[in-house]
């Protein structure tokens, strides 16, 4: 067996252990269990959204206007009624859940990838590039990101979900980058890294096999906070009426309710779905974060006394 084989075998074993321990921890921690089950049911709704809406609306977009009678109260045909444009509220709700989650996870993925590039490699290598990137990160952290994103979305017309997510992510990477950087800085001075260098491991090997596995919890928590931040920002942007009217998200649903007179006319059932879904998204992601924090950060575990 060459050294490479040993390494890859080792990583395979390692990832299996991680998977196994992940499921163990999820069952063990009540917060993780509740959080992941709420989030995965929302994700299931998002996955089956095309199917459900395809059957219920017969291939029509849930944002299409004038298909059903206007302002119906909840019934078997329309579990959440219809709005003032004759759209099925339940169909809009599950499209909204899907799109909001898509934006959130896109922001999460982009933000954590940028954060990894900026912090992992730079912090390990150190030097001028690291200093520059670190100052850049700190400036980004100061900027009022939501306000700037709102300005960008207002000026750039014709935005789809991906572009909005990219705009939000261009600020959202800075927080996780700083977190990961401080972890990498503390890890790279540990004796086992010196040992790895002595054995002759290349920098890339050290980064991917010695450092990355150890900062995995921070990456997951950073990802999850970026998802929360992404959904929070996108919902806020849509709430004030920015973005395309045909792209349903939960924020747009709340905006419709607030501005179209539905609230004054007393169609309160319209708002229950979007508000509860948003609360469930935020609570479940937060529970997952707290659960992970408690598992991987023993100091915090002692502090919270759980």
């Amino acid at each position: 067996m060459s050294q490479k084989d040993i390494l890859s075998h080792h990583t395979f074993r390692k990832s299996l252990t991680i998977l196994r321990s992940a499921s163990y921890y999820i069952v063990k921690s009540k917060k993780l269990l509740v959080g992941t089950s709420i989030l995965s049911s929302l994700i299931l709704i998002a996955i089956f959204e095309p199917l459900i809406n395809g059957v219920r609306l017969g291939g029509l977009q849930s944002s299409a206007i004038g298909y059903f009678p206007r302002l119906q109260m909840p019934s078997l045909n329309h579990p959440l009624g219809t709005d003032h444009f004759g759209r099925d509220v339940f169909a809009m709700l599950i499209t909204g859940i899907k799109n909001s989650l898509i934006v959130g996870f896109l922001v999460g993925f982009v933000a954590i990838s940028v954060a990894l590039v900026v912090s992992l490699f730079a912090a390990y290598k150190g030097g001028a590039i690291d200093n520059l990137l670190n100052s850049f990160t700190n400036v980004i952290l100061i900027l009022p990101s939501w306000a700037i994103a709102a300005a960008a979305v207002a000026y750039i017309q014709r935005l789809d979900l991906t572009l909005v997510a990219l705009i939000i992510a261009s600020f959202a990477w800075a927080g996780p980058a700083r977190q990961i950087r401080s972890q990498v800085l503390s890890l790279k001075s540990r004796p086992y890294i010196d040992l790895a260098k002595m054995v002759g491991e290349r920098d890339s090997q050290i980064i991917f096999f010695e450092i990355l596995p150890n900062i995995l919890p921070y990456i997951i928590v950073g990802f999850s906070y970026a998802v929360i931040g992404g959904i929070l920002a996108e919902t806020g942007l849509r709430l004030i009426g920015l973005g395309a009217a045909e792209i349903m998200t939960l924020g747009l649903l709340v905006h419709i309710f607030m501005t179209s007179g539905l609230i004054i006319q007393g169609y309160y059932h319209f708002i229950i779905g979007p508000v509860i879904s948003l609360i469930l998204i935020f609570i479940s992601l937060n529970l997952i974060n707290i659960g992970l924090d408690e598992l991987f950060n023993p100091r915090l575990k002692k502090v919270t006394g759980e």
Partner: protein, 337 residues
């Protein structure tokens, strides 16, 4: 004595210099980020008017005239110099578009008091409530009281203000209409008297409650964590062993030691009293900076947008500087490092 003095001087100079540098960098960053928008602010504004109202209120000659007036026909770098000169020497953010020719800073100044009142009161109240609850909960760790408040706080600490605002608006302004749903005071009141104040409090109640309910939870969580570490310290065990009364330990030992770090936190969060709750203000049509910002965004009022963004950075950084400057008075060690 002398060396300590110069240490503090060096500390203050370092903090002030870095404040100026960071302020300059962030203003520059925002200026150039906002110039990335397609076209220029005037053209974007005119296109918005055209597409929204379906007519051409302004001809191309007029657009050019306005562009010259705003210095937009020059290259970005000279625009930047003009902007800096105006800001530093005239304290001028340029005219607003939606209330032309009122300068943007005048519009902002008109809305600022409402936001500062609402958010300073909510920040202080949520700090106070969170601190008191956090100390009690940390002291009574493991009881049912602790479990309830701590779990509630953990779960709701990440729920955004605006969701709570929508729920409260629905519950207390529409389903049970006991509080006003919009504005900052009843429009019929023009004199500043007791009725005006009562009306202002009624109008601010729901926006304030939605902010306090959420931001209180953060203070509760951090205070509880502090109290639990303090309870584990040797000096507290010693005080307990000495047989000091519970109330004495509670006020003299625990409350005092949580107060210092939490006051630091309060100072930092006071920096956010401008940005804090843009969307809450919008939801309750509260005439503060947040509502002004959302209006400016909707009408592409460039100078107001840029002005508010820079104002928020200015307050956050200035609050941090003030914090840095008074910190050596509380804890002299920081100046010596």
């Amino acid at each position: 004595m002398f060396s300590q003095h110069s240490g503090i001087q060096r500390y203050i100079i370092r903090k002030v210099v870095s404040y100026i540098v960071v302020l300059f960098l962030s203003f520059t960053a925002v200026f150039f980020i906002l110039r990335l928008i397609p076209g220029n602010p005037i053209r974007a504004y005119v296109y918005m008017l055209r597409s929204r109202y379906g007519f051409e209120p302004i001809g191309d000659r007029t657009i050019q005239m306005f562009e010259e007036m705003f210095g937009l026909n020059e290259d970005v770098f000279s625009q930047y110099l003009i902007f800096l000169r105006r800001l530093l020497f005239e304290f001028n953010l340029g005219p607003s578009f939606m209330a032309f020719p009122t300068p943007a800073q005048e519009l902002i100044a008109r809305h600022l008091p409402w936001t500062i009142i609402l958010l300073s009161v909510t920040t202080l109240l949520s700090w106070f409530i969170g601190l008191i609850l956090g100390v009690i909960v940390g002291w009574k760790r493991g009881t049912r009281f602790d479990n309830f408040f701590f779990t509630f706080s953990l779960i709701f600490s990440q729920v955004p203000y605006y969701i709570v605002a929508v729920i409260l608006l629905l519950l207390f302004a529409y389903i049970f209409p006991i509080l006003p749903s919009r504005g900052a005071y009843a429009a019929s009141l023009t004199l500043f008297d007791i009725n005006f104040i009562i009306s202002a409090i009624q109008h601010a109640f729901l926006p304030a409650l939605s902010i306090i309910l959420v931001s209180m939870t953060g203070w509760l969580i951090s205070t509880r964590a502090l109290v639990i570490t303090i309870v584990g310290e040797d000096y507290l065990q010693y005080a307990l062993a000495k047989g000091l009364s519970n109330s004495r330990i509670f006020t003299r030992y625990i409350l005092r030691n949580t107060l210092l770090p939490q006051t630091t936190g309060l100072a930092i969060s006071l920096g956010f009293i401008v940005t804090g709750a843009f969307l809450v203000e919008w939801i309750f049509v509260y005439p503060g900076i947040g509502a002004l910002f959302v209006n400016a965004i909707g009408l592409l009022d460039f100078n107001v947008i840029q002005g508010i963004i820079m104002l928020t950075m200015f307050t956050v950084l200035t609050a941090n500087l003030i914090m840095d400057l008074i910190y050596p008075l509380i804890d002299p060690r920081v100046a010596l490092t």
